[in-house]
Amino acid sequence: MTVTDTPTVPAPRAKRRLTTSKAMVEAIAQEMERNPEVVYLGEDVGSYGGIFSSTTGLLDRFGPDRIIDTPISETAFIGLGIGAAVEGMRPIVELMFADFLGVCLDQIYNHMAKIHYESGGVVKVPMVLTTAVGGGYSDGAQHSQCLWGTFAHLPGMKVVVPSTPADAKGLMTAAIRDDNPVVYMFHKGVMGLPWMAKNPRATDDVPDGDYEVPIGKARVAREGNDVTVVTLSLSVHHSLDVAETLSAEGIDVEVLDLRSLVPLDREAILTSVAKTGRLVVVDEDYQSFGVSGEVVATVTDHDPGLLRVPVQRVAVPDVPIPYARPLEYAVLPRHDRIEAAIRRAVAA
């Protein structure tokens, strides 16, 4: 893993405020300009512009030969992306919701993710698989999952999960340029969509021009000394909100945005926990056998003595995401649960 603290390619120029989805689209457009081998395919990515605005305006700019609507045949078109990547193209393929993983999982974990290894490193699969994740708007058990723990569990694909507009752009650029398969998971709640509850943090400064955010480098979203919150995606925004509230009471929360699960920036986790001695993990995926356990193990494998108090985990309690709002809010990591967990950690 090679990571650098600073962006690799020309320094960011002017900053403008963009939504996460616009920032993501900007990166795709810039890479398509740079490299004719980049194409984007998936369901409703053409004239619709992506159900979650992942491709808005791209059809007009690049035409139907490069922004390609597919039939509802995920196994076929994801597999097609793999074959094209093997031949040196740089396809970006969209699986509309991560929840639909089941209909095309074989192509993803047995092919996209394993070809490089099985070929002894001889065959590369430089593709990006994009997919929307997350709930909070009553879309039910088949349309609200994160499942990033599942992708991250299966070896051979990088897994990136941006939470801010600037990262959405920089990580997309890095993902397209990466010679490995990269799964790029965007939470609907961070995209800044006009038809969802507005999250003020979903619009933010985005550097102009060409830059990468290195994959595998976590970001300290807020510095603090009392307790570390390790989290990702929409939960970063919630955790920052809670941290601000608690700072009025003198509780100083550090928020670490993982940005990518594979590779996982274990060093950043250890550095922060070594400083605060307290760990809260916030994860919108299912609790058991997933990201939160991995983060905890990262600390305890290294030195359980770093922890002054027991770890608090705020995740989905191993239940399908319920439809009715009171039930869904009860199981998702929202402000109330995050705040309670931080209070427990600092009180212990």
Binding site: Y48, E74, F100, D139, A197, P317, Y323, R325, P326, L327
Partner: protein, 333 residues
């Protein structure tokens, strides 16, 4: 076709449309300001079936509550035509504890064991379970059938083809129905398959395939009649595609900027058209139409009232029902 059946097809279509109009009203009532999909009495995605009533009416006229249906993300017309309890279905859509799934499922996940009705939000994935229901029905020596319904977009999914193959191979009593409304969200049928009619695909599996044109409820009724008779007689599955119409957006909030056929779509509305036909045949008059509409509206508003007056689920019970609490039934039923 006898007069009574024709009028009842009309009644079913009117009930379904009345229902969809009421859900449309309730869905949009409190999404503002602007449009926030997560807000309101009915949050989340909403896929309405207005325009596709002929499929449900024509299909379900041949089914009893003992026959099974697996429907799609656009399930209401099928649920209504199949006789799913309107109050409990509505309560589910409103996320209430009295709902079919106690508020856990929502509008894409309606399960009613009393009518063997179910649906799924994952495209084409309702086809395989229908095989299993048919398998169980036949194994128990009954002549019950399972109907599996998808959209034309779903016919390009692997599960569709595997299901046709297995059902044909094992002569399972399944009626496969494809609702071709020309659109898979924003992708027209012509951009998703090179085959002109999905009914032709039946040939690949050695089963009868039939396409019903023009969203014609009586055409659906006739085609399904043949397919159900075949299935009940133990002669295996059939595939029927109906050229139908998605009158509204893919989901509510869909501005349909991609769609060129909208300008004249309302004139194709199958309900006024069928109504005219029945009037011309002397089977309906103003008073009868009024009666049908009033009764539909009364049933629908009763269901909506029931849903609204029902309690929301207790957040403390959010993790209930992942597993059954009952001791194992040990294979008895």
């Amino acid at each position: 076709m006898d007069a009574q059946t024709r009028v009842s097809l009309y009644e079913t279509m009117v009930l379904s449309r009345t229902y969809e109009e009421a859900i449309l009203r309730e869905y949009h009532a409190d999404k503002g300001p602007g449009f926030d999909i997560g807000k309101g009495l009915v949050p989340g995605e909403m896929h309405l079936s207005a325009g596709q009533e002929p499929v449900a009416a024509g299909l379900c006229a041949h089914l009893t509550r003992d026959d099974a249906i697996t429907a799609t993300h656009r399930p209401h017309h099928l649920a209504i035509a199949h006789g799913v309890d309107l109050r409990r279905m509505t309560a589910e859509i409103f996320g209430r504890e009295t709902g079919l799934g106690r508020g856990r499922g929502g509008h894409m996940h309606l399960f009613d064991p009393s009518t063997h009705f179910s649906c799924s939000g994952i495209i084409a994935e309702g086809y395989p379970p229908a095989l299993g229901q048919a398998f169980a029905f036949r194994r128990r020596g009954t002549d019950r059938v399972a109907a599996a319904v998808t959209g034309e977009g779903a016919a390009n999914q692997g599960a569709f083809h595997e299901s046709l193959n297995l059902a044909a191979l094992w002569s399972l009593p399944v009626v496969f129905v494809v609702e071709d409304n020309d659109w898979g969200i924003s992708v027209p049928r012509t951009a998703s398959t090179a085959v002109g009619s999905n009914a032709l695909r039946a040939a690949a599996y050695g089963i009868p395939g039939e396409r019903v044109e023009d969203n014609d409820v009586e055409g659906v009724y006739a085609a399904v009649g043949r397919a159900v008779a075949r299935a009940r007689a133990g002669e295996g599955p059939s595939l029927i595609e109906v050229h139908t119409l998605r009158l509204w957006g893919h989901f509510e909030g869909d501005a349909q900027g991609y769609r060129q056929d909208l300008a004249d779509a309302p004139t194709h509305d199958p309900i006024p058209r069928y109504e005219r036909r029945l009037r011309d045949a002397g089977l309906l008059d103003d008073a009868a139409v009024e009666r049908v509409k009033a009764s539909a509206s009364e049933r629908v508003e009763d269901a909506i009232r029931f849903a609204k007056e029902s309690p929301l689920p207790d957040p403390a019970a959010a993790t209930a029902y992942v597993f059954t609490d009952a001791p194992s039934a040990g294979g008895t039923r």
